[in-house]
């Protein structure tokens, strides 16, 4: 008695519609390899934030500070790298560790003092924005090319095929072992991997930030579905009392999920600085909203307990596609938020309608 995953189907359907519309309106420019590569890179930062955000929301929490946090951490790592001559690895590590510290501090305030996460992270957002402005002094900092590698480089096409080959072979093997619908799902994934690699290699290769995004998403998906920590987050968001009575330490899990979110903000900050080529004093603004929107479009319930990392990635792709397509069409920039907002509400409306019917 398998239920049809309405949400996933609508999302994929909506994405296809968006792509077809843009392809037609741009006479095919939207689908050329160069633009698809750009599209993939455009979704990298939002995607990294969104996959962290999924777990936060699944646990029944919210983090409004991730955009400001990403800007701040990307800025600090650029400053220590450029102005203080830190080695690259140390500059990256600093952003991740600092992210963990900021995230766990916010998590602690939520879990142990009982301050609503909305308030804690709204305060955090303002705080981080202010600190970023202070440390940069309003000046952009441009790191050397070695830093920019994570945001702008490509995996050599031949190496990309090796990666893709290994992953696709793994999927084919699973498809061989599975039966029924699962068999087709694995096969589809193998085709997707090959198709994606072919498209990226038709330009310069798989962009490094996109590879990073895929690796992180895989890691978070495994974390969410195959570790006690991840399952407990779903339990806490689904029924906090039940989780408590099952002996789950709720406070520790909340601190944990905010800490992870902080680390992801650090990673997103590095990629952001590297992609743009410089750290600016207003970097990351409103990215938290894109991340939340991506998670929600991707099927995450703000009530907690429901949502997947891959869904959020799909949501991020929808958002990036809208940005990208409208830029190609030279649409006035004010249209972008209008369309994105409409799609966000429409996605949830369709889902609610589907749920009533199901």
């Amino acid at each position: 008695m398998k239920r049809i995953p309405w949400r996933a189907l609508t999302m994929v359907g909506a994405l296809l519609v968006i792509w077809i519309v843009f392809s037609v309106m741009t006479s095919g420019t939207f689908l050329v390899p160069r633009n698809l590569s750009l599209l993939a890179r455009q979704m990298a930062v939002t995607g990294i934030l969104a996959i962290g955000m999924v777990l936060v929301i699944v646990a029944g929490q919210i983090d409004l500070s991730v955009g400001a946090q990403a800007g701040l951490l990307g800025g600090i790592s650029a400053i220590v790298f450029v102005n203080h001559g830190w080695p690259l690895a140390a500059a990256f590590a600093l952003a991740l560790v600092l992210g963990a510290v900021l995230g766990s501090a916010q998590g602690w305030l939520v879990a142990h003092l009982g301050i609503p996460p909305f308030i804690v992270t709204l305060g955090g957002m303002l705080l981080f924005q202010g600190i970023l402005l202070g440390v940069t002094g309003g000046v952009s900092i441009s790191p050397a090319p070695s830093y920019l590698y994570v945001g702008q480089a490509y995996v050599l096409p031949r190496l990309g095929w090796v990666f893709a080959g290994v992953v696709a072979a793994g999927f084919l093997f699973q498809s061989f072992r599975a039966s029924g619908g699962a068999r087709w799902r694995w096969l589809g994934l193998a085709v997707l991997v090959v198709g994606f690699t072919a498209a990226m290699n038709a330009y310069e290769g798989i962009p490094v930030p996109v590879l990073l995004l895929v690796v992180l998403a895989t890691a978070f998906s495994v974390l969410g579905h195959h570790t006690p920590f991840g399952r407990h987050l779903y339990a806490i968001g689904g029924n906090r009392e039940a989780a408590f009575y099952s002996g789950i330490n709720i406070q520790r899990h909340i601190v944990g999920v905010f800490t992870l979110m902080g680390v992801m903000s650090g990673a997103a900050g590095i990629v952001l600085t590297a992609r743009v080529g410089s750290a600016t004093s207003d970097a990351g603004r409103t990215m938290e909203l894109d991340a939340i929107a991506a998670a929600v479009i991707g099927g995450t319930s703000l009530l907690g307990g429901q949502g997947t990392v891959w869904g959020a990635l799909l949501g991020a792709l929808v958002m990036a596609s809208l940005d990208n397509g409208m830029s190609l069409l030279n649409t006035e920039s004010y249209w972008q938020p209008i369309i994105k907002g409409t799609i966000l509400v429409a996605a949830v409306a369709v889902d609610m309608a589907g749920r009533r019917r199901a």
Binding site: R231, A235, N239
Partner: protein, 505 residues
């Protein structure tokens, strides 16, 4: 030597002594019931036993097989074989049965959950309770009775030797409750002891070996169940004699206030199928009409659809106060305007704004009566609220007390008061005494009887059969959405009602 012994347990909360030297013991292979009104200290006592209140926050001692134990958390108590089946089911609806069973103790290898072990352990746990459900199904798809069994399976899988059940049958139908009681008896045979808390005293007498009564934080008496009587336990619980629990009013039915015919309600989940089909009844002024049926028979759907709150298409004819026949009401607002009122089965979810005060809740349905010019006339609102507050004898510090600080019985009185302020002529009561202690139940019965005497027509849905039979003049029985009997007066007995309720429609 007793399996478990609690010696002179004392627990203080700021300003209140919740438990005052309570002693309690449990033998091997025993079901020991704990009875008392809300606020008597039952919940506090079991929370101490189960480690919810850690060792050191209370006085007295707990001996397990003669040895003192000091639990600092629920987990520690569980490790000693004491498992709590809490009043609110502790299951995560979105997760699968298997995941719920293993929640908090997932088998892990290399940081990842071993799903094959989860599956086999889950099957083993379900076998313990003899529940045949697919462990991969989300818990939300199971019925309440099945969920209850999953909960017990979860405790047994953790090799619990002592089950502490807090109101386990509160949400169950009569049939599911009977199944649960039979299973507890079977467990007793297997060497699992239970502490059983329930407001349903009939069940207590059916299952318990011994009964301990708590009142105002003290243990009043412990009886072998065979030697105790219902009246005696009730009088010990309330500290006074309760003569007639069910004061059915001696009224002669007046004119018909509501007549329903050909009433059908589509199943919101399966269009084309019906949760109710061709139901017809009427209720007269001064009459209490009982509606009996098992869970899923359509009792709640009947009330809510007449009240205009159905989520799916409704067909049928209504006649209100002998007026012209008309179609179904389209909204609760329309129903209220027509003189109907509905006290829903889940007062916390549908009846009250828990974070608001008593006065606000009392005037929730009637706020427009208190508009003077453009604004609310707060004085009139307070005056009317106070009158209702006093008439219902709501026990609360005042009108400004928050409703979530009131006991279940007083919350229910607030819900009743809210509707009485709308001056309804037909009152629907859906499980009005669920989870309410005996003293407050008696007050609510008296109130309902008084309302009927004043000429209100009352429709009462209840899973508590003695209550339904004791209060109703006539009983309509539903089975699987069909009307299978309409029993008058002495024709309504537990046997006739249950026969009609289990009749294949």
């Amino acid at each position: 030597m007793a399996l478990l012994e609690l010696r002179s347990i004392t627990k203080d909360f700021p300003g209140v002594r919740a438990l005052d030297g309570v002693s309690f013991d449990l033998e091997r292979r025993e079901v020991h019931a704990l009875c008392g009104e809300n606020g008597a200290g039952k919940s506090t006592l079991i929370k101490i036993l189960c480690g919810y209140y850690p060792s050191g926050t209370y006085g007295g001692e707990i001996l397990l097989e003669g040895k003192p134990v000091h639990f600092r958390s629920l987990k520690e108590a569980e490790e000693h074989g004491i498992a709590l089946i809490a009043q609110e089911l502790a299951l995560v609806p979105e997760l699968s049965v298997a995941e719920n069973l293993m929640l908090g103790r997932e088998p892990v290898k290399g940081g990842l959950i071993q799903w094959d072990v989860v599956a086999s352990e889950a099957r083993r746990a379900l076998d313990l309770v003899g529940l045949a459900v697919d462990p991969n199904r989300p818990v939300k798809e199971l019925g309440i009775g099945q969920q209850q069994m999953v909960e017990i399976a979860k405790a047994l899988a953790k090799s619990a030797a002592i089950l502490v059940l807090d109101e386990p049958t509160a949400a169950l139908t009569e049939a599911d409750a009977q199944r649960l009681l039979a299973f507890l008896a079977e467990l007793r045979g297997r060497g699992v002891s239970s502490i059983y808390i329930s407001h349903r005293l009939e069940e207590v007498f059916q299952i318990a070996d011994r009964i301990t009564v708590l009142r105002d934080g003290r243990s009043i008496a412990t009886h072998p169940a065979k030697e105790a009587t219902l009246d005696r336990v009730i009088s010990e619980m309330v500290g006074r004699e309760v003569k007639n629990l069910y004061p059915r009013p001696d009224t002669t039915p007046g004119k018909p206030m509501l007549a329903v015919s050909g009433w059908s309600v589509e199943d919101p989940l399966n269009p084309g199928r019906f949760v109710l089909k061709d139901v017809a009844f009427d209720v007269h002024a001064g009459e209490i009409l009982g509606i009996a049926g098992l869970m899923g028979a359509g009792r709640t759907a009947l009330l809510s659809s007449i009240f205009g709150a159905a989520r799916s298409p409704v067909r049928g004819t209504l006649q209100i106060e002998g007026g012209p026949p008309r179609g179904p009401l389209r909204s609760p607002a329309e129903a209220i305007a027509s003189g109907l009122a509905l006290v829903s089965e889940d007062r916390k979810r549908y009846g009250l704004v828990l974070e608001a005060d008593v006065a606000e809740n009392l005037t929730l349905a009637t706020l427009r009566q208190f508009v003077k010019g453009l604004f609310l006339d707060h004085q009139a609102r307070r005056r009317e609220s106070r009158a209702q507050f006093q008439a219902l004898r709501i026990k609360a510090p005042g009108l400004a007390s928050l409703v979530n600080q009131l006991s279940g019985g007083n919350q229910q009185k607030v819900v009743l008061g809210k509707w009485l302020m709308a001056r309804p002529r037909v009152l629907f009561l859906d499980e009005p005494t669920r989870g309410i202690d005996v003293g407050a139940k008696a007050e609510i019965y008296n109130l309902v009887a008084e309302l009927a005497r004043q000429g209100l027509a009352v429709v009462l849905v209840s899973s508590d059969l003695p209550e339904l039979l004791g209060m109703s003049h006539r009983v309509l029985v539903l089975s699987q959405g069909r009307q299978t009997a309409l029993l008058e007066g002495s024709a309504a007995t537990p046997e006739t009602v249950m026969a009609a309720a289990t009749m294949k429609a």
